[in-house]
């Protein structure tokens, strides 16, 4: 008799646990992770990042996802509204912020870092912000292939001389310098549809080669 009641209690407990985890199943179903991973891998292959974390974000993305509570405050104070949020493509990253520089670049106003309640975005001085680094495809950029004069990326850069400039022997060809923090404004304004300028991880950047 006692064994049976213990068994019943066990079954009831298991049913309770299963019913309790149902909402999580639904939430995970709405946010499938598999697609997100493939999506990211594709972009990693191209070294092209269009899901950049906001400035001051923790470098380790797993730590960032653990620290972010998805409150949306960073997006809500962002003056150019460049901060977007992972939606159904996010999996565990759902509701965490990102910047797509093709869409809108970051103006480095520091508001998101100041407002973040957790340690996901840490207030960082301008020089130490590291969202990546811009890279120019010299086979597609108009001045570089002698198809015209542009300079949009150079004129829009909020950091100016230390981040981007013109080549010494041809004052129309833009070059990236070490001071670039990867805000992505240059990507936003680039008029060439194939986007010969984009943001890559600092480690993947070829600044040294390009500035020689």
């Amino acid at each position: 008799m006692q064994r049976r009641s213990a068994l019943q209690r066990l079954i009831r407990g298991a049913a309770l646990l299963a019913a309790a985890s149902l909402p999580y199943g639904v939430a995970r179903l709405l946010a499938p992770e598999a697609r997100a991973q493939n999506h990211n891998r594709e972009h990693n292959r191209e070294h092209k990042r269009n899901h950049i974390r906001p400035p001051g974000a923790l470098k380790d993305d797993a730590a960032f996802v653990a620290a972010c509570i998805g409150c949306g405050l960073c997006g809500e104070v962002c003056p150019p509204r460049c901060i977007r949020f992972h939606d159904r493509d996010g999996g565990g990253k759902v509701n965490t912020p990102f910047i797509n520089p093709e869409d809108k670049g970051c103006t480095l106003c520091n508001k998101c870092m100041a407002v973040c309640p957790t340690e996901a975005l840490i207030e960082t001085p301008l020089d130490e912000i590291d969202m990546g680094i811009a890279q120019i495809d010299r086979a597609a950029c108009y001045p570089w292939v002698d198809r015209g004069i542009c300079g949009a990326c150079v004129s829009v850069c909020p950091l100016g001389e230390r981040a981007i400039g013109f080549e010494m022997w041809n004052q129309y060809r833009p070059i990236i310098k070490d001071g670039c923090v990867g805000c992505g404004l240059c990507v936003e304004v680039c008029p060439e549809p194939s986007l010969p300028i984009w943001i890559v991880d600092r480690a993947e950047g070829t600044v040294a080669r390009h500035t020689v």
Binding site: L17, A19, A20, A62, C71, F85, G92, K93, V94
Partner: protein, 335 residues
Amino acid sequence: MSLTMGTPKPFALWRHLNKLRWLSLSIVFAMLVALPFIHVYQTYTAAHAYDLLAPAEKQLYDVMETLTAAFTDDPAEDLDAIKGNTWSGSFFGLQLSDPLAVAGQMAAGLKLYAPFLLTALIPVLFTLVLGRFFCGWICPATFLYELNTNVSTWLARLGFKVGNRRFDLRLKYAVLGVGLLLSAATGSVLMAAIYPPAIVGRELYYAIALGGFGAGAAFFVGTLLFDTLVARRGFCRYLCPGGALYSLLGRYRLLRIRRIVENCNDCAKCNAVCEFGLDPLRDHFGQECNNCTACIAVCPTQAMTFVLRPTDFPKQGPGHLGKQYRRAHPDQGAH
């Protein structure tokens, strides 16, 4: 001897607290709708390009300018005073967060981060004194859920089948436990995806400022259907992890509702009106009660009042104005 002479009367204003509660819920919800519009307006002002706006955007700009011009000269900076939602927000420089956000983040990161911990201090202190007051007075999802309860009541009157099943109230504690364990296992704050107040705040922002509802909206509609078809206020009572945390924190709350047995006539309107399906008629409130004061407002004989006690009032039996009590005590007679 008149029974009503010596019995305590509840403070008269407490009958009207339910209206104040609806005002509070409406203000919170209206703020969540207004903040994204304020944010959009701020981005327009920050861009200094009124001429480039589309006609609809210009209209929004003009309306917001008329509304805010009296309060600020610099919308891009000054309107940042109130930002965020009930999940986490900043209120005139004061950062406030939901205790569940702190618990979930601590579980996901497996470490303490003191500045964020402190943002939940004020809500936790209020909860220790007032119990689950967040659920009844502030939660933007409650605003929609209570409206949904009214809709269900109309549907029931029209002859539709409306569910009112009962489950184990401890289910939500299991949700909270499973949620924290899964947060620790996956390293992301999963609770944010299934916690209705966080969903409502976020989805309103997505819909207004970012041009479309996100995945959470579908989940929230699911909870509304659950409330209508399966159990009244079912998500709050049986599944909400935040409600579970608030219930635990508010277990020994100081402010409680108490039935004055001398004034009670056993009409059971309090039981009928209780959104959380509690049993005020038999002095059963427990840690689930969110001090919403609906039972105080509905009581026709002023038998409900507030009391300062860390535990529930012991069972007092049938109300003295009710038939059952008068049959048992014929000597006391009617007044």
